[in-house]
């Protein structure tokens, strides 16, 4: 069951130096903009960020990057932020690149108690270097270990007071998977409703996955990110 927090700083208090933090979103779509903003205002360092992208230059996780709070990033597409390359060249950040499907599947494994699994994605490519290869029924696979985090920061559409979550269109993406794979799950939502207002069919993330809920203060509009 989830706790509702008014204060963003308070909600983020479980994040410590050196923590691994999953951050939802595909680009800015479905990204927990309010929580990311809170993280940029928090005194914390040496984070490992697991997220498909690292925001854009000077936006979202891009701010955190420029604040040198990120020690390592695990994702599939850092290209969307040109600052990442510069930091990487200077040796200021460690990067682990995974195919997007492997990134998502490894999180699911982490949330489902699976130690690791075999995928065909990446076999024979540079991203398979150093990974165990195994043939199963005549097909070549590589081993991928599960991924978990200390904290997941995600965004949903609506939450009921129990912590059940629904999502909005393609703003769903990595969020439900990350909700399963972290020790502490903090969600920002557009709206908090009473239990029963979300139909069982709408509930994508059951409340057993959710620890803290905050109301979103920043939203993505056609004009970009704006304060609510």
């Amino acid at each position: 069951m989830a706790n509702i927090r008014q204060d963003i700083h308070d909600a983020l208090s479980c994040i410590k130096n050196g923590h691994t933090v999953m951050v939802g979103g595909f680009g800015l779509v479905g990204a927990p903009l309010t929580l990311i903003d809170g993280l940029t205002k928090k005194d914390v360092k040496d984070l490992t960020i697991i997220s498909n992208n690292l925001g854009e230059s000077g936006k979202g996780l891009g701010i955190l990057l420029n604040q040198n709070k990120i020690k390592k990033a695990i994702g599939s597409y850092f290209t969307s932020n040109r600052d990442v390359g510069e930091k990487y060249q200077k040796g200021e950040i460690e990067l682990q690149l995974l195919p997007q499907g492997t990134l998502a599947e490894s999180m699911r494994a982490g949330g489902a108690g699976i130690g690791g699994y075999y995928t065909t994605t990446g076999v024979g490519t540079q991203l398979a270097e150093g990974k165990e290869e195994r043939e199963i029924n005549g097909i070549k696979y590589i081993f991928e270990p599960a991924i978990r985090a200390d904290v997941a920061l995600i965004r949903a559409y609506k939450a009921d007071r129990l912590g059940n979550l629904s999502y909005y269109k393609t703003a769903r993406n990595f969020n439900p998977v990350m909700a399963t794979a972290a020790n502490m799950v903090i969600v920002e939502v557009d709206e908090i409703v009473e239990p029963g207002e979300l139909s069982p069919e709408e509930i994508i993330t059951p409340h057993l996955y959710v620890d803290y809920i905050v109301e979103a203060q920043q939203v993505l509009t056609k004009e970009g990110v704006v304060n609510k």
Binding site: S76, P99, A104, V177
Partner: protein, 222 residues
């Protein structure tokens, strides 16, 4: 019109020529995933209502969207605004890639940096530059039943992209099935390129000149 403007118009025209031809390959019922770049343009030329578009960020049933209906939280894999078709559904990234990797996508249309004469492609990294993005490219290569390339035949500087061997890191050991450019169409059969069609007004000599890879002339074949 300046030379630069003219070049841009030409470039766009070429891209649309390729996309339009690629769309002809799609016969419903089928599930199709379109990559970033020229492949995204293919959507404009699909008129078969039984061709369903899947986008890996979590939507089956992608359609065009009018400017006034654009929703910043409804995008495709290229982060461009899209619409949802009747009967569309949403799913999370793990479920979406389970569809791709599990063999449930009939056709992927992709762009590339290079393709070799066995149909193996390179489309995610350039040596000497920071290797920072792979996205869903490797997943689509291993998972889609059929992979079609929609690509310009050469680079902007005229250098060739259909090579004897890729010099960039490969995306998968799997060969693509078809290559569509503004000049020609190749099929990949048993790791061999077969030239099966010339685009209007193009000669086989021009194709030979702009293609480093060996290929078999199958134009006469039925």
């Amino acid at each position: 019109m300046s030379t630069r403007e003219k070049t841009i118009v030409d470039k766009k025209e070429i891209q649309h020529l390729i996309a339009k031809r690629a769309a002809k390959e799609l016969e419903g019922p089928c599930i199709v995933n379109l990559g970033i770049g020229i492949p995204t343009l293919v959507a404009e030329y699909i008129h078969d209502e039984n061709v369903f578009l899947h986008t890996e960020n979590g939507l089956l049933g992608v359609t065009d969207v009018e400017e006034q209906d654009m929703d910043p939280n409804l995008v495709n894999a290229g982060k461009l605004p899209v619409g949802e078709a009747i009967g569309a559904s949403y799913f999370n990234s793990a479920d979406s890639f389970a569809m791709i990797r599990g063999g449930h996508i009939d056709v992927a249309i992709l762009g590339v940096l290079q393709v070799d004469q066995t149909g193996v492609i390179a489309n995610w990294a350039v040596p000497g530059k920071n290797i920072m993005g792979v996205g869903g490219a490797m997943d689509l290569l291993v998972g889609a039943k059929k992979v079609i390339l929609a690509m310009t035949h050469t680079n902007k500087d005229g250098s060739r992209k259909i090579l004897k061997e890729c010099t960039y890191p490969i995306t998968s050991t799997r060969s693509v099935d078809k290559i569509i450019t503004e000049l020609a169409i190749f099929e990949v059969v048993n790791k061999t390129l077969r030239l099966v069609e010339l685009m209007p007004g193009v000669t086989i000599e021009e194709v030979r000149e702009k293609t480093e890879a060996d290929f078999i002339d199958s134009l006469g074949d039925v």
